[in-house]
Amino acid sequence: MMAKTLAAALARFTFKKLSNIALTKAWSNGVSVGGYYTGTNTDSALYKAGNDGLNIGKDYLTAFVQKTF
């Protein structure tokens, strides 16, 4: 009985999930290139930021290149 009650309570819990994965290749001359993906299960309708309504609940893929001196 208690287990069923606990399970029902847990079922009502809403967890936001944020996941990311990144891959970077760096060379000895200080150049790095890479990319990363950020994903979330949040409801994009509930996660708007700023006056421009930027959706911070959506998935993103970012590519980058950088040079360190």
Partner: protein, 218 residues
Amino acid sequence: MPALQGGVDYAHDSGFYLGSWASNVSWPKEGDAGAAYSSGGSLEIDVYGGYKTELAKTGITLDVGALQYYYPGRSAPGVAKLNTTELYLSASYGWLQAKYSQVVSNDAWGFGKTASTGKADGTWYGELNATIPVGELAKSPSLTGVTVIAHVGRQDFSGSGNSIADYTDYKLGLQKSFDNGVNVGGFWTTTNADKAAWSYDGQNIGRSTGTLYVQKTF
């Protein structure tokens, strides 16, 4: 070798959260100078959990939690373990953040009890971070999307003989974000880390560096 990293975080509406992050790493192995591992030492797995909440509608967010750094493998003889357990507390207000982390395990990233050094529990890192939205604050169209990033941190190792690794680090950066998802920026980092304590493969990893970058988000 490319670096592959990934993580997943779960956050509950109550403020409790759990997460994990992993990356391939390359600790020096037996035969290398400053060898930390006999075998393994090529993976880092971080597991953390905590509680984050706003302090009585003040706009101040408090975050308290624990973090376990785990590096599978067998330590080199006479070297303290790299596995480290940390407790942390941070306070954020707008674009400002202050954070304090303290090691509660006997060893901290290879510093700890050996024939010549003492236990490293009590090792701490304190930091102040600012991500200043200059464009928003100045309300100037020409500065739209401009952000200044500033950081100062202090690492202090506990235990006799470990203080040679203490350092203060600084970072100052500038980024411009465009509406099309392109970010361009640069940052400068420096430390006062002891060169002998923080050299790897003949390179001083605490030296000053400047970095320029271009990002595109899709």
